[in-house]
Amino acid sequence: MTQRHRLATGGHVDRARRLAFRFDGKSFEGHPGDTLASALLANGVRLVGRSFKYHRPRGIFSAGIEEPNALVELREGARREPNTRATVAELFDGLSATSQHRIGSLTFDWMSVNGLLAPWIGAGFYYKTFMWPAAFWERVYEPLIRRAAGLGRASGEPDPDHYGTMHAHCDVLVVGSGAAGLAAARAAGTSGARVILAEQDFLLGGDLLAEPGQEAWRAGMIAALAAMPDLRVLPRTTVFGFYDHGVLGAAERIADHLPEPPPHTPRQRFWTIRAKEVVLATGAHERLIAFPGNDRPGVMLAGAARTYARRHGVRAGETAALFATHDGAYDSVFALAEAGIRISAIVDPRTDSPAMQKARAAGFDVRAGSVVSGTAGRNALHTIEIRAADGRGRGSPCPADLLMISGGWNPAVHLASMSGAKLAWDEGLQAFLPGESAQRERSAGACRGVHGIGPAAADGAAAGRAAAKAAGFAPAAEFALPDAQAADHRPLPLYEVKGSKAFVDIQDDVTADDIRLAHREGFTHVEHAKRYTTHSMGTDQGKTGGIVGAAVLAEARGERLEQVGLPRFRPYAAPLTWGTMAGDAVGAHFQPTRRTALHAVHEAAGAVWMDAGIWKRPGWYPKDGDADLWASIKREARAVRERVGICDVSTLGKITVEGPDAATFLDRVYANTFSTLPIGRARYGLMLREDGLVFDDGTTSRVGPDRFFVTTTTAQAGPVMQHLEFHLATAWRELDVSLASVTDQWAAVAIAGPRARDVVGAIVEDLDVSNEAFPFMAVGECRVAGIPARLFRISFSGELAYEIAMPAGYAARVWQAAMAAGAPHGIEPYGLEALGLLRIEKGHVAGPELNGQTTAQDLGLGRMMKKKGAFIGRAMAQRPGLVDPARPRLVGLRSVDPARQFRPGAHLIARDRASGSDGRLSQGWVTSVTQSVVQPTGWIGLAMLREGEARIGTTMLAANPLMGEETEVRIVSPHMYDPENLRVRS
């Protein structure tokens, strides 16, 4: 089939090149410059979809983003994208599209039986009908309704494309490149201001593209803009939201007009634009009129038919009629007549107007004082009915396969409204216009009711100059503006021709009767009526008929439309694909990953990675012969208990605290004392939050008279630094203390186990590591394998242990030296899991216990709180609720059957089921669980338990109702291994 509706000449299509495409499996041809919609019309395809609820046949209704009907699934396979508007989808060679929302073929849809049921399935039908039984809603009714009503299908496969982001700054952002936008951008640009001009279309010009007489001006303007060094034009870019402080969001479609993005090119890019001043030149969307059968394929907005004729060189029909309420729509008739389309009638409820006289003079059949009262045609329009505007019943037939309608224009005030500007009613235009600005924005052209190329261009130029001036620039050269007369766009306020199936929302199948029903049932506010009927809730967001529904509601309420208003405009002004919102933050790039200096070493050792916040840490190092992960974990832990192990502890937070007041400062931020700590010694420190709960713990060393090396847990490294900086900057500005984060500078390894001294002694130079010279909690500078390092005798495992800290670039060398020196002693690397196993056996608290809900007392660390001197959290820790002896306390747990697992998160309840209902109440919860590698082996854990100390020796149940588990556990001291603490000092 060749393009039998394509004009021989004219418009912005390149007839020399042909683009092949497929729609519902059939092959067609179009040209560069076409949208999918214009190419379908050129090929005579008029039925493009089925309606949302009644499955009525639907055709192309508009030529822009306001399209309610022509939604298709574009592309195939993983790139299949539902709900794509054919009216803005740029045609490319090989494009494939499928109509959506039909069961069977497009021309015979089985679900169209819903149309016959229409009297019973009006607004609220589903809410009212499918209420009982309640359990059926989720499993039966909703899936059925969704299947019947849903729109297109997503591919269900991972998106093969990637998406980018961009941050832009400008003095003046101009949104829209019609006559007003082009003039605004040029006027602002001549001042030297940095200007961005964003246009959602692939061609600049807006309505100028349908004005052949203004083509020279359009081309001249584009050339002038291209010559401005600080003006950036963004075609195919939709500004979708206006946020606070001059921030706007936009989506640039970089590769949607190509079969697939070129290598390394994102498909779309999310722009965050920060503009000093904004000029909104977003134009207007033509308004539909509600009349019976106004949804039939062949009914089209008048301006759209004109655009198809003049911009795309396409006849949208053979015999056309116009139904309009204002003079602004009459140019469509002339445009179509020029394109060789027969005009059968012009239907206008007004009695007379300049445009009507001109049309009559040109020989058209103008039916003044008339309305269209119905349409006929099975899958496409062939006849309209015309009757007197004040008449009733059916009218007289008139042939038309294209009915152009225009009930006025809806200024595209979405962005102005989102910026906070109130809307103001204009009685003459019967439209809501942007009111007083709340941010630094101004509207120009049709989006503020200034219609016609000439007036809009002048309005845009003035707005551009004003915006540049407001941004601190002086506009310079004037430029020529188009001299064009504008027709009067003020409509007769006719919103509805009453009758059955008069749609106010063609996409969501909402009729004028549905709005009246909502009103009768109490949903009288425009926001409520919207939600009850789904009016304006589709992809088009009511751009053509939103105000028509509001007008019907106003009539039902007996109020003026001005009082009823419109539902609030919110982002997004146009649909946005999820990929663009996610940008590049998907998959591995969802968040950054932090790697220690030993990452490659662990990788070479075959570590299984675990996430600790954004850190990658080795969980364990599987070996051949390990039956499962527990075999690996227990093997590593046994190496530490029996011989020696090595572990990467670089992720701990490390902070240099220095200054004459450093010791005073640490005494205030820690619950225990540091001013008494000698140089060359470390001490375990406990930090409370201001509210008295435990914040963090770690070892802090004194490395100079006024210099300390503070360590934090991995998880709280950032928050502790913020906490310290905050108090120095606010509460204690008199203290002379400096804080430097050295977490990344220093890598650290723990070497732990009875043979640790043998290993450390073999690699450390310049330091005597004997127990006498370097006792538990000693700290010293040394060299390891020729590298400057710092040795700490501290232990998290409960064994004789050391930590070596070294500049990160040397960590691999130190690790390798330790592995070599430890080989004769059977050294093994151990990961995060074995580290956890060892500390649970030892009863050391960590993240699961330091969970922001526990006090020092709860954790058995109450004695650490100094008696004298103020410290953060001291006062609040004395609150009755925090010193209540009934609070859960830290205890240890052993599974009665050592082989029987219990889990963190399980609750501890009384074992005796006969102890009444109270006995089944939770008495505490399990925080950490592991398997012990020392006798008696088996599942052990830590828990927070009410009256914990008193219950030691008793048996309770660790209940996990989520998994249907109840495990008998014996309550024991949390210090399950070496409670006398002899091994760390050995």
Binding site: R269, R274, D584, T593, A597, D744, Q745, G786, P807, Y810
Partner: protein, 199 residues
């Protein structure tokens, strides 16, 4: 005995050569200069003494907020916080610059060697500003930023000290060393559209 050369945090990640499409676009050039970086935090009321010491020993005028300055013997200072600067210079040995600064500023400031803790990438090329803007919320336009300007901001999801060194434009980007690999990964992916040349 002097320490052996340390391992660069990007040693196993940064593959020298061209990434992205082959073509006529000028790629983003990424280099990994070997720098020593020292963090200097002035003691209370000793700002003038510190400035004088650095002027005397390094011919360096400490820059104010948002700025960087390079002294006569090639040491660059970048303002990072109230009373805080990074000093950086070509690597001459382990903690060599830290030792020089400590000798010069004893008692005037807290000195921490950050040569291992911070990683510097030098990026340059005519498209460098456009490419960085894909992840940089700050305005890098010549009217708002330029040679000698330096600031800490987010690039993508990662905190980065951005210092523009010339009008090519060229930028020195300093990030936490443990985030350097993920940062380079982001940078390559973000710039791949234009092409990347490492080395």
């Amino acid at each position: 005995m002097s320490a052996p050369e340390p391992l660069h945090p990007l040693a196993s990640v940064a593959r020298p050569g061209r990434h992205g499409p082959a073509g006529s676009l000028t790629p983003l050039h990424i280099e990994l200069p070997a720098r020593e970086i020292v963090q200097v935090l002035v003691r209370r009321d000793r700002s003038e003494d510190l400035a004088a010491a650095l002027r005397r020993d390094f011919a360096l005028a400490l820059p104010g907020p948002g700025r960087a300055a390079t002294g006569g013997d090639g040491v660059t200072a970048i303002w990072i916080q109230e009373g805080g600067w990074y000093l950086h210079a070509s690597r001459t040995g382990e903690a060599a610059l830290a030792a020089r600064v400590a000798a010069s500023c004893a008692g005037l400031a807290t000195i921490d060697d950050q040569s291992h803790g911070r990683t510097m990438l030098r990026v340059s090329g005519p498209r460098a500003r456009e490419i960085l803007s894909r992840g940089c919320r700050l305005d890098l336009h010549p009217r708002a930023f330029g040679p000698g300007r330096a600031t800490t901001t987010m690039l993508g999801h990662i905190a980065c000290l951005v210092h523009q060194t010339d009008e090519t434009p060229a930028y020195e980007l300093t990030v936490y060393a443990t985030l350097a690999a993920t940062f380079l990964d982001w940078l390559i992916e973000t710039a791949a559209e234009d092409g990347v040349e490492i080395g």
